[in-house]
């Protein structure tokens, strides 16, 4: 049945900008403060107050636009969007209507088939958030928290070009990665700093006319977005198969039942009475402003991914993991400026480094070892002065506790260096040769397996510190020499 239909999906993603100040008001805007402690007279819409544009919010929106290959609008105006709701202090939201700060552009996702797909954007615009209505926290009452009111948001609107719930999931992941890379939003869906509404419709496979559109709200994780869209597609197909019409409406996703339910049926006709905000001058963005931001743009995840594969010759899996967030990518990239053992570096970062960060739930930003120290550690192993296991199990934990000691000093203090002085190792070999004449005879008679046992003896007597390669070759030399000697005698 499902094969008859195609789904058409568009996303509207709100990203709360991680800024010190609100969009048009002067006060700080931190998450989790006590209710109504971050509320100026501007936010509370006291009579006589006027909005002022937070330039940093504009920076964020332009950066996002540049990252999405959008056209930056050189002169945009803000608009008032009017509706009455107790958590909307002015009775209107200042947003952008006809002139969004960014137009068009696209984001790239990876399809399950391993291809790249461009998802076209309609627009990115700036606006302010509403407060929060807390229903029934006190029974029968609605409490209002205006801390969030006026917080800066960007809304990213895609064209209706997504076709599957998985694509929607990937796109949202891509947006989250991007806003985190750009450091403009923490991307936390659970806390609501990233919010996603989905517009879903279905149509017959060969049709070119979109079906009736349903807006689905209230998904607070990426997984929920995918599930909600999946459910909604199934529901709409079932409606059509029954011969009914899909009703154009807004539905709310219920995670507990994994279903959607209609909401706001009374407000089918929304008339927001948009008109230009007369309290703000047009927002004029100069070429210089844009260029300044373009120059300050960090390398983005896809660029790092490509660099890690092309230049550092890493497998795709490593590149994906290491470019997942910007701090890791930055750390790894810096590490690779200090060592040429790229794959070893990747193993270290994906292994011991991640293990440590995960255990303590730290960000790599607060990782105690700077790339230079890790690079020294890697080179000790790669040069054979330390085995990987000694390095990762003894020196690394010690370094994490005392990074200021330095790799070499600490390794020496802990007496971890491998012995590679041939004279000293030869002495150990000679010792072993002297103790096991019968084993040597057996070796001589073809029992080559004895070599491993003899190596073990050498290692044991050195307390594991001789360089295995060196010891092995010296032992071999001695065994062969003894044999030759034997023949001659």
């Amino acid at each position: 049945m499902r094969e008859k239909y195609t789904a058409v999906i568009g996303l509207e993603v709100h990203a709360q900008l991680s800024l010190q100040r609100k969009m048009f008001a002067p006060e700080v805007a931190a998450y989790g403060a006590l209710p109504n402690t971050q509320v100026s007279t501007v936010t509370l819409a006291h009579p006589g107050t006027l909005p002022r544009i937070n330039k940093q919010a504009v920076d964020c929106a332009i950066k996002m636009g540049l990252a999405c290959h959008s056209v930056i609008t050189r002169e945009s105006i803000f608009a008032r969007k009017s509706y009455f709701y107790p958590d909307l202090p002015k009775g209107y939201q200042i947003t952008q209507d006809k002139t969004p700060i960014c137009r068009e552009g696209y984001l790239t996702i990876d399809t399950p088939e391993g291809c790249e797909k461009h998802i076209a954007l309609e627009r990115i615009h700036l606006e302010e958030d509403a407060g929060k209505s807390l229903h029934d926290l006190v029974e029968g009452e609605t409490l209002l928290d205006f801390n969030r009111a006026g917080v800066a948001l960007i809304e990213i609107v895609t064209k209706p070009v997504l076709r599957t719930p998985v694509e929607a999931y990937s796109l949202l992941g891509e947006i989250r990665k991007l806003v985190r890379y750009l450091n403009i939003c923490d991307g936390n869906m659970e806390e609501g700093s990233l919010r996603c509404d989905a517009n879903v419709s279905v149509m017959l496979q060969d049709s070119s006319i979109f079906g009736k559109r349903v807006e689905v709200k209230n998904m607070n994780s990426m997984r929920h977005v995918q599930l909600a869209i999946e459910y909604e597609i199934g529901r709409q197909i079932a409606v059509l198969d029954r011969g009914d019409m899909v009703v154009s409406e807004t539905r709310s996703y219920n995670a507990a039942t994994n279903t959607t339910q209609p909401m706001r049926t009374k407000e089918l006709l929304k008339d927001y009475r948009y008109f230009p905000e007369p309290d703000l001058p047009p927002l004029v963005v100069s070429e210089r402003w844009i260029e300044g931001l373009r120059e300050s743009m960090p390398l983005l995840s896809r660029a790092y991914h490509k660099k890690f594969m092309d230049i550092y010759q890493l497998p795709a899996y490593d590149a994906t993991v290491l470019s997942e967030d910007r701090d890791t990518a930055l750390y790894f990239d810096e590490l690779c400026q200090l060592t040429k053992h790229y794959k070893a570096a990747s193993n270290w970062v994906m292994g011991p480094v991640r293990a440590y960060l995960n255990e303590l739930t730290l960000s790599i930003r607060t990782f105690p070892l700077p790339p230079l120290i890790l690079a020294e550690l890697i080179s000790l192993v790669e040069q054979g002065q330390l085995s990987f296991s000694t390095a990762s199990q003894k020196l690394y934990p010690a370094l994490l506790n005392q990074p200021e000691k330095g790799v070499w000093a600490l390794a020496r203090t802990l007496d971890l260096f491998q012995e590679s002085d041939t004279t000293k190792i030869q002495a150990l070999v000679d010792e072993v040769m002297a103790v096991y004449p019968d084993k040597i005879a057996a070796y001589r008679n073809g029992k080559k397996g004895i070599l491993g046992m003899l190596m073990g003896e050498v290692m044991k007597r050195s307390q594991g510190k001789v360089a295995p390669k060196v010891a092995n070759s010296l032992l071999l030399q001695s065994l062969e020499a003894t044999q030759d000697h034997g023949i001659v005698s």
């Binding site: 007279t41 509370l44 819409a45 006291h46 009579p47 006589g48 107050t49 006027l50 909005p51 002022r52 544009i53 008032r80 009017s82 009455f84 107790p86 202090p89 002015k90 009775g91 209107y92 609605t142 209002l144 008339d271 009475r273 948009y274 008109f275 007369p278 309290d279 703000l280 001058p281």
Partner: protein, 490 residues
Amino acid sequence: MKKEFRRRPKEKNTDSLDKLPPFDQLQALLQQGAITCEDIVDRCLHNIAQGAYLNAFLRVYAEEAKQQAATIDQMCQTNNLPELAGMVVGLKDLLCYKDHPVQAASKILRGFVSQFSATAVQRLVDKHAIIVGHQNCDQFGMGSSNEASAFGPVRNALDTTRVPGGSSGGSAVAVQAHMCHVSLGTDTGGSVRQPAAFCGLVGLKPTYARISRHGLIAYASSFDTIGILSRTIQTCATVLEIIAGPDDFDSTVSHRPVPVYTAQLHFDKRAKVAYFPVALEHPGLQPAIRKQTQATLDTLLRAGHQVEAVDFPLLEYALPTYYVLVNAEASANLARFDGVRYGYRSSESITVADMYQKTRTQGFGQEVQRRILTGTFVLSADYYEAWYVKAQQVRRLIKEKLEMIFATYDFIVLPTTPTTAFKIGAYTQDPLAMYLADLYTVPASIAGIPSISIPNGTDENGLPIGLQVMAPAFGEAQLLAFAQYLTLLL
């Protein structure tokens, strides 16, 4: 009571008044010790009390005013007076004054206390002007007669059966009746100039964005200006140069430097003056005003100035354009008065929709409701293009036409109002007729240009006539100088 005033209004009112020395000479008197600031404030308070029936003030800050006067009297002894020392100022109830109530003369803001001062008010306070109180007005500045106040009408001190004009009616009467030297009003479509004309005063509406709107309770944001009501041009210029200029709190305010207007009041040019026959021939214009305006134009011509008739066919579109746009903006600006966070909330409501409905129905006056509804209508999706967009286009045409005229002429002269002060109750049942009172003042508001009303004689009933002079944007220095010249000439 009412009958008594009606019988012999003029005598009664002027007799009981304790006239204020004009501010322009006051500082010299203070420094000579000829008068004390406390005496000035006492006279104001006396006049306010005596004129309580005029209903000009909603709240009087008597004790604060007296204290400030005492401080200034001490300063007089040190011989170093701040610029506005001795000036007593009243504020229209649309201007915020920190820690004082402000109510827009409306029930909906009952109990609201402002947490900050309007930038203009703060600048006056910084120069030691004494704020004596908040003045009555039409609710939210919406009205042309000061009858649309939740606190009752204001009466014209020259004839208490007549209106003082609006919406800054209380502000005009306060200056007219010597209750203060200066009032700060607001002018969205004539609300300072029209009451100035009705009360025989100087009323200035500066260029839009010349004075910060921070702390002005918004009616129509793209029209609202703070305006000055005073007895003399000199006083008006003194106040303007202090309150005008850039302000971080208002991102629409102009950053142009503010001239020292008081130093440029001498006008010695040959002025090029335009007038609109279409305005003088308008059927609604009171003959006495037509005659008086014509006489003024003749006087100018005789004095050697260039005076020419200019076509202004857009005049008939000015009022409709104005009312579409201001009501649209008002419908959004007044949405914040919802009973949720401050002010009046109907106690009868159960649901949220109920709360909005009852609070706003009970809290706003009828004229305010009418304008909100009209504004909501012109912004709704089905009518937006036909009304709001069209009106914006006409606004641009009017602005361009006026700019074009100013490419040739220095000033445009026309009457401030079609009639002199009318009787209380004359138009309260006919809002459209009331809107006509703004006929001549709205063009300057639509174009955002400065405009001043100065006294220009009286009509057959001895009621003041106002002469309006308009100048190009930011032409206040020339406008004030020319107005000063006219005052001396007439």
